[in-house]
Symmetry: C2
Subunit: 225 residues, 2 copies
Amino acid sequence: MNPARRIREEIAASIQSGEWRPGDRVPTEQELAARYGCARATVSKALGELAASGLVERRRKAGTFVAHPPVHSAVMTVPDLAELIAARGEAYRWELASLETADAGDDLAGPALRIEGVHMAAGEAFALERRFIALGEVPEAADADFARVAPGTWLLGHIPWTQARHVIRAVNPTRKEAALLTTGVGAACLELDRTTWRAGRVVTHVRQLFRGDRFDLVAEFNAGP
Amino acid sequence: MNPARRIREEIAASIQSGEWRPGDRVPTEQELAARYGCARATVSKALGELAASGLVERRRKAGTFVAHPPVHSAVMTVPDLAELIAARGEAYRWELASLETADAGDDLAGPALRIEGVHMAAGEAFALERRFIALGEVPEAADADFARVAPGTWLLGHIPWTQARHVIRAVNPTRKEAALLTTGVGAACLELDRTTWRAGRVVTHVRQLFRGDRFDLVAEFNAGP
DNA sequence: GAGTGGTCTAGACCACAAA
DNA sequence: TTGTGGTCTAGACCACTCC
């Protein structure tokens, strides 16, 4: 095993087991180099990786300390609906309801596409979608065939490396939405709002509405790498 | 500016701006070392950090490539309710409803505390909570005063560095829950289930129920570090 | 002032996978 | 086979900050 990796994993194990508690001091680089019989640069690399993953904090002159865990943070993965439903073994279909060019979308500057449609799983409505796409950022969208392919799926291949913000809520559907989802206005639904930026400018904004009894989100947190 | 940092940031900017697209090849370490006039180890460090943050992928003999962005992943932060409500400028209070020792909790092994209560904001019910705490993992919990301090707040200071899994759903409250939240059974609520492990063993499990019109979750994704 | 982390170098050898 | 990343070393100097 790599010296650096070995050092990193042994220290991570000491922290995750609770043996070393938040605020405890980790031995200095020199001490660890002597203990593991390797160069200080190797220890530095291992501790730097632990610091990058948030497990320890390093302060000059003071030393390296076990970090205090984040209050509660976790990584949430929102799948592409076509893939999600296919993974469940159900037939997926996208039904375009409307497509128009709006002079300006929600918080988008300039012209945008406004798209509405339904994601179908096994012949039943699974989610409603209303989306804006900024044509100034993704001009090719004007030529895409959104009757055939869902806009989310199409965008995956056309908007590299963005920032995004998701807002998750429980809402009651409107009468029209309830009818489309074949449920009642008193049935809880999960609303997912996602805004996507590139270089500070909004690329797309989407609102998806799911039946609460057919969809939930999972977020996981794992200390260290 | 550090050579390593400068290299890292210039490459990250090229990727985030869309100039370099997913799958594109990044110059080799030797080329970058020559271009920036520094040692190859310095370039290696910069590229290693970019790889750790997921912005590039590195393959021996093949080279370094701009990574394909994750489908949709984001970091969600679930605040401590006492802090969240205080940050809103409202008075926070925890009301214990019941506390008992169960022989075995949900998916916990061994004896556990079962705690139910209500988080109050500005005098009104904000969230319901039902929690199990594994006494085998956190024996001090037996002596904590959960009438005075909410279990989540107490645990923050007593369970270092764990793994966690959150499940988020939209649900309808039962008649009893609706009454406690001063809402109706037809009003959508957000349910948050969190299970917390340490060293592979469940430490605590909590289910929180929020009025959909008073609470939402936010998750953000930012490429790179 | 002194101890700690932060960074860099020049060189070396290894491991791996693509050609 | 060979080019690429992966890792390590021994040493050096710097930057910060706690004492």
